[in-house]
Symmetry: C2
Subunit: 195 residues, 2 copies
């Protein structure tokens, strides 16, 4: 496959879209963020990268804690709005209802089917970026999306959650068809003749 | 929305699926990874989290560099296979052709439409996890997906790339319909009456 060099662009695709929440001066605030990932399951680790100047960043630094909230397709207008306006200018707590989590300073967005409470364990500063590596403390999932499977709680298939994806083309997207299953799809892998 | 606590589960959704590449003892090797994100555009930053015992991790630590390769839906069997078998037992270089990148020790997967060359700037160790925060050095995109827009190179819409998503339900998924555009969708946001 012929490729063209486009310069140093972090074109990971696709990008999850989440709302990062933290209380700022006692008011819940949320920022729309695509710079977020799972870093491991055991121990449960996540990362979020915020600009030092973001209003939410003040709250994360003050409480050393935050929430990751997974919004749904029906919330795309709010999600985009929350990526454009700052909590300095708009009281986002009036626009997105929330409840306090178990950790002080961590608001959970009521309308998001998944809210993850996180406690910061490391902060890496790169220029104006504050990169927060965090332990997951508790995860709250919409009760209608929780299943019991052999005494263990698990979450409904992704298609029932309707999360939002993002790409550096500036588009928001839904989740498409299921195309495989972990530890099963590989069984049909037939190596090509080595070239 | 009533929620159920499911414990400390990093249920970020969805998760991108990428192939992380590094030369190990002079042979290109690739690991299937969902623990990957953009951390910023300017400066261009990414993160990848690997298990210390992964074969690829040895190469990343040796060269302080790696590639992130975005596979396509048609590669799902190989992608799953590469998440199950180790480069210690299988010579993955025979199964996935690659070319050397600009950075020493960084192989670029020929069949992936996007390959991102990264140089490690920080390593954060958490138990058996090695978390690599890296600068993007160069990005290679399939030439048929590169557009010129006002003298600037950009990448075709996400739907033409056909990347793979993953979720903690163990499923692989394609990208669905476009549901909005950054800095446009929010204009239709009409605040609900404060509750």
């Amino acid at each position: 496959m012929r490729k063209t060099k486009i310069g140093a662009v972090p074109y990971v695709a696709p990008i999850p879209i989440v709302l990062v929440g933290a209380d700022v001066d006692g008011r819940p605030n949320f920022a729309t963020v695509g710079d977020c990932a799972v870093l491991g399951i055991r121990p449960p680790l996540v990362v979020v990268s915020l600009s030092a100047t973001h209003h939410t960043t003040r709250g994360v630094l003050a409480h050393r804690a935050f929430s990751i909230n997974v919004p749904t397709e029906s919330m795309v207008a709010l999600v985009d709005h929350f990526g454009v306006v700052s909590g300095r200018d708009v009281d986002k707590a009036l626009l997105l209802p929330s409840e306090p989590g178990e950790v002080e300073g961590v608001p959970l967005a009521a309308d998001c089917p998944i809210s993850i409470e996180c406690r910061v364990r490391s902060v890496v500063d790169v220029e104006h970026r504050r990169i927060f590596i965090a332990n997951v403390v508790q995860t709250h999932v919409a009760s209608n999306l929780v299943r019991e499977d052999g005494g263990r709680l698990c979450v409904a298939p992704l298609a029932e959650i309707h999360p939002i994806l993002y790409a550096l083309d500036g588009g928001y997207y839904g989740v498409g068809a299921k195309i495989g299953t972990s530890h099963e799809s590989g069984r049909s892998f037939i190596p090509a003749d080595p070239r």
